[in-house]
Amino acid sequence: MNAVEIINFNTYYGNKAVLQNINLGFKSDSITAIVGPSGCGKTTLLRSINRTAEMERGFKSQGDIRVLGKSVQEVKNVSAIRRQVGMVYQTPVVLPLSIKENVLFGPRYYGVKNRLEMESIVENCLRQVALWNEVKDRLKRPAAQLSGGQKQRLAIARALAVEPQVLLLDEPCSSLDPAATGLIEELLTQLTKDLCIIIVTHNLFQARRIADETVFMLEGEVVEKGFTNILFTSPANEKTRGFISGLFG
């Protein structure tokens, strides 16, 4: 079973159609990249999965999205969906709290009170994002003092701390330098255990490096989806070939 299933999904902003007839499945224990030119609807699709897209005025959708078999469209309690589906944004966002409290922001809300449990969540999540060794001596310092790459890794740790089954990343490296990008790519490939990772990226090299499968979108529609190495070496669709040919010169 796919962790995320998108069925005949359409979205509109006012009367303008954004996504048209999307049918996609995303597997757990793997990374799927969504690529395509700006404005093709990648981010809208991502934000529909955790139902943050509907926070925009005039947003409407049809069709269904299922996370672990349960429809997110019908759920009354949006909070439960967002807990299952973590999200990391393009700009690294750290909350104006200490490093430790950033990680614990979600767990505290969901009722974790035991000190030992909190400490183990902090260490565990920070280790998962390869940040523990860099910050273990200054957990109580403001997170705002971290570098851009560290902030983005902390944002991932904060999302992981509520144990999501799906992790959405919206161009998480676009404001980072190559070294910080490399670190994040490496940790993402190690995070896939029991996790369905969906990453929107502008960077075709990045999709090639880390994604097991890649989806190519154009003008609100899915053009092609396949295993990354196949999609990039022998795409079935003419448009995909055109888009990725930029990659090969």
Partner: protein, 281 residues
């Protein structure tokens, strides 16, 4: 090219002149008050009660200071919770919705109601119909209604100035708006909210019209009893001046009132600039 430089130069000149003009007027008012009222402000004036014939021509203004503090405190107590809740709804819960639009419009209209009208309304409602009489409670209510829109607008602006990304990040964890509000947004906006509340407080302390018909008395002990009339600095000043009781006492009272308001405003401004530094971090 040269002409543009001349235009810019001229405009800068005007800006400086305008700024200087305001500054001169303000300083002139304070200097004049110090010159006319300063010699009469001493500890006996501040700590004493009105005396002499006609009453107020001698003695001090302590009951008026106390009364003004009571009125402002009560106005704050009555308006702060509704004000904060309204602002929190407007910025965190109802933003962009129809209800928020309507509330914004209402608050805007409330801010436009002349304070004497507010005073008359509270007079009709509280003083007469509810039978509170001319009282501290009625005056506090009138001032509370007057400063409510000020508190709503300044608090709303302080909340809205908090980085939107924090809300986005918190929302995507599935936590409630209230949790985000008290853990992130409120602490970030606290200095700005306090600055707004202080400005509203200064506004209430200087207001005369709403208390004239609801709370103020020519002489009262201002003990803090809710259903007793109180003295108040702006009203006392008005009586001293309007009834030609004593210009010296009037200027001295004005000086005390202006110093009180200046202190409040300086505190508010320093909190405001603290908030700006927080926002830019």
């Amino acid at each position: 090219m040269k002409q543009r430089a001349v235009t810019d130069g001229l405009l800068m000149g005007f800006f400086w002149l305008a700024g200087l003009f305001i500054l001169v007027v303000l300083l002139a008012i304070i200097a004049y008050l110090i010159w006319r009222g300063g010699p009469f402000v001493d500890s006996a004036f501040i700590m004493g009660s009105p005396a002499g014939l006609p009453l107020g021509s001698e003695g001090g203004i302590f009951p008026a200071i106390k009364g003004t503090l009571w009125l402002v405190l009560l106005a704050l107590v009555l308006s702060i919770l509704p004000g904060l809740l309204t602002a929190a709804y407007l910025s965190e819960y109802g933003r962009g919705g129809r209800l928020a639009d309507i509330i914004n419009l209402l608050v805007q209209s409330m801010a436009g109601v002349p304070s004497i009208v507010t005073g008359l309304f509270v007079y009709a409602l509280a003083v007469v119909s509810l039978g509170w009489g001319i009282s501290l409670l009625a005056g506090g209510l009138a001032l509370a209604i007057m400063i409510f829109p000020v508190i709503v607008v300044s608090t709303r602006e302080a909340l809205l100035a908090v980085d939107e990304n924090y809300r986005l990040a918190a929302d995507s964890l599935g936590v409630s708006r209230f949790y985000t509000l008290y853990r992130i947004i409120l602490p970030r906006a606290a200095a700005g909210i306090m600055a707004g509340v202080l400005l509203a407080l200064g506004y209430a302390a200087g207001a005369t019209a709403p208390i004239m018909v609801t709370a103020a008395a020519i002489i009262a002990s201002s003990s803090g009893a809710l259903l007793e009339p109180v003295m108040a600095l702006p009203y006392h000043l008005y009586i001293l001046f309007n009834e030609h009781i004593s210009m010296n006492q009037a200027y001295a009272t004005a000086l005390v009132l202006v110093i009180l308001l200046l202190l409040i405003n300086i505190l508010a401004l320093s909190l405001h600039s603290l908030q700006e530094r927080i926002n830019s971090r």
